[in-house]
Amino acid sequence: MNIAVLIKQTPDTAELPKISVEEARSGELRATMVLNPWDEFAVEEAIDLSDRFGCQTTAVSMGRADETDALKHALAMGVENALLVDDEVASGGDEWAAADALAAAVMKVGEERDVELVLAGKMSVDGNSGVIFAGVACKLGWDLLVNVTRIVDIADGKLIAEQAFEGGQETVEVPLPVVISVAKEINEPRYPSFMGIRKASRASIPVLGSADLQVAASCTAQWTDLEKPEVEQVQVRIIEGDSVEEKAARLADALMAEKVI
């Protein structure tokens, strides 16, 4: 049983507000690009499962041919292999097209390394769709678990996991293969090691194109317009009070009045 972990290269969260509509439209972002923070949890889980169950791990990302920073980061953290899907494969397409290409890439990895588990973060900090992994599960025809907070065990062709939902948590058992999106509670992502950094910096990452994956871009949904939200005017209120308790009580009242809590 081996693992593919889906990752995306996204702008540093702190720099997201600086990105212009033109940059977003063209894809030429003038920002520091990093491994999507939500995907770091998936990468960490893949490495941890590799240690626990002796499986191989492959990070799969879709992007331009030179967009390998996120993959290198995953390698530096400890993922064993990396694969880039040229985003020309899904050019002009939507999330469904991206899922199609990524599912094909997972199958491609599976030809060499019997993949039975796909891990992904819950969403990307730039696109925010949160549906790619579901599309991949659909395209692969595999079961899907979302918001997983712990992978308890993998044995006898089955995986046991804990899932969080609003107001509770459940433990589920699913047959392999399965696609899982992980919640941030699942682990604490490690920093890359120096050994991992050396390996990552020397790695040559294979790029798969349309001919390799045998998929054609679909474009059911297209951008017709793109704009940035208005900058919200924020007003600051200082809560006064004679004691910490009084200030806290007044703050709680104010938050309730505004229906924040």
Binding site: V34, Y191, F194, I197, A200, S201
Partner: protein, 403 residues
């Protein structure tokens, strides 16, 4: 904007940069202001730094190190001091002033005996050169080491020693031939717990308050002869070569301070308004920002130059001194300007810049004052100073052998 990191560093270096800055932002910055306020040492960071390999970053893997190069040491120093000088100082003292001298001057037996525990953080180490009456004038030190059979008997006092009260290994300098000035100094490795060795913490520092600074007292401490580093009388040369290592980290760290001051000042200047517009649109604010950027660009290049020479195994005393002198003075200017840009808020510890200003005042004093570096540079340029080959030069970085 093209930076030195884009032009001069490898992909490996840039991955190190990201990792080290992530560590600083996630682990150091959330806690360091409180430690500074309380004058407390952030003990909780040491295991994390050790686990990541910071404490032995540029030691070969065969001695337990991470096997990275000297530029990587500079990058980690820069990133750590982006958060606070105290954390960078820990690496500088432990690694550059203790472990690297053993790597450079030690016997093979000493390297195999001492370095692994230093690289993995099991032992934390410091460097004792300065005395109550001897700072820049190293030859004036008063500590004495007298040979008795297979041991040396050490007595004396060391002052302003970073990590004095935290370390369990001490590299100290004492005179074995008091009548021979600098040529009579020898270097010794001491262990906490040895009879006659005591340490304490100095209070009331202006800056670098989250670092431990203290004193070491030696009352007839018996040191086995195999704990002497280098030959008898070689201590002055060892001490000076140590400074080549440590000054590099100080210079690189100062680049981190300048970067921090720019980041905080730009953010503040774009948000804070006066006279109906962001203060970033006032030309005198822009002048200070431009000065910081100029200093950052120069500082990055000086650090890269010194680090590259170190990687090549080329003697770099002049270049490292220049980098240390320029970068620490530039960091002090940047921090001063950053406080000015922040106005009254900058004068409060609500923002980081006042802490950087206090910290940078120590950086222009330790590891050779700016005045010492001025004299050194003048002497080099006037042909009055020349570096002679060392018996044990620092080895060039060899990725195959070190990893």
């Amino acid at each position: 904007m093209a930076s030195a990191s884009d032009l001069l560093y490898t992909e490996e270096h840039n991955l190190v940069r990201k990792m080290a800055y992530d560590f600083t932002r996630n682990e150091v910055m959330p806690i360091i202001a409180e430690h500074d306020r309380n004058h407390s040492f952030p003990h909780e960071l040491l295991p994390r730094m050790a686990q990541l390999g910071f404490l032995g970053i540029c030691l070969p893997a065969c001695y337990g190190g991470a096997g990275m190069d000297f530029l990587s040491l500079g990058i980690v120093s820069e990133a750590l001091e982006y958060g606070d000088s105290s954390v960078r100082e820990t690496v500088a003292v432990h690694l550059a002033l203790h472990a690297l001298p053993i790597f450079q001057w030690g016997t093979e037996e000493q390297k195999r005996s001492f370095l692994p525990a230093l690289a993995n953080g099991d032992h934390i180490a410091c460097f004792g050169l300065t005395e109550p009456g001897a700072g820049s004038d190293v030859a004036a030190l008063q500590a004495r080491a007298q040979r008795q059979g297979g041991e040396y008997i050490l007595s004396g006092e060391k002052m302003w020693i970073t990590l004095a009260d935290v370390a369990d290994r001490f590299l100290v300098f004492a005179k074995t031939q008091p009548d021979q000035g600098a040529r009579g100094i020898s270097a010794f490795i001491l262990e906490r717990g040895w009879k006659g060795l005591t340490t304490g913490t100095l209070e009331g520092k202006m800056g670098v308050r989250a670092s431990n600074t203290g004193w070491i007292n030696m009352q007839e401490v018996r040191v086995p002869a195999e704990y002497r580093l280098g030959q008898e009388g070689e201590g002055f040369k060892i001490a000076m070569s140590c400074l080549d290592n440590a000054r590099f980290g100080v210079a690189a760290g100062s680049v981190g301070i300048i970067r921090a001051c720019i980041d905080e000042s730009v953010k503040y200047a774009l948000q804070r308004e006066s006279f109906g517009k962001p203060i970033a649109e006032h030309q005198l604010i822009q002048q200070m920002i431009a000065q910081m950027q100029q200093d950052l660009d120069i500082g990055e290049l000086l650090v890269w130059k010194a680090g590259t020479l170190k990687n090549q195994g080329v003697r770099n005393t002049r270049e490292t001194s220049m980098a240390k002198w320029f970068c620490t003075e530039a960091a002090r200017r940047a921090a001063d300007n950053a406080v000015q840009i922040h106005g009254a808020y900058g004068y409060s510890d609500e923002y980081n810049v006042e802490r950087h200003l206090r910290n940078t005042k120590s950086a222009v004093i330790y590891e050779g004052t700016s005045q010492i570096h001025t004299l050194m540079q003048a002497a080099y340029t006037l042909g009055m100073r020349e570096d002679r080959p060392l018996r044990c030069p620092m080895p060039a970085y060899d990725p195959d052998a070190w990893q």
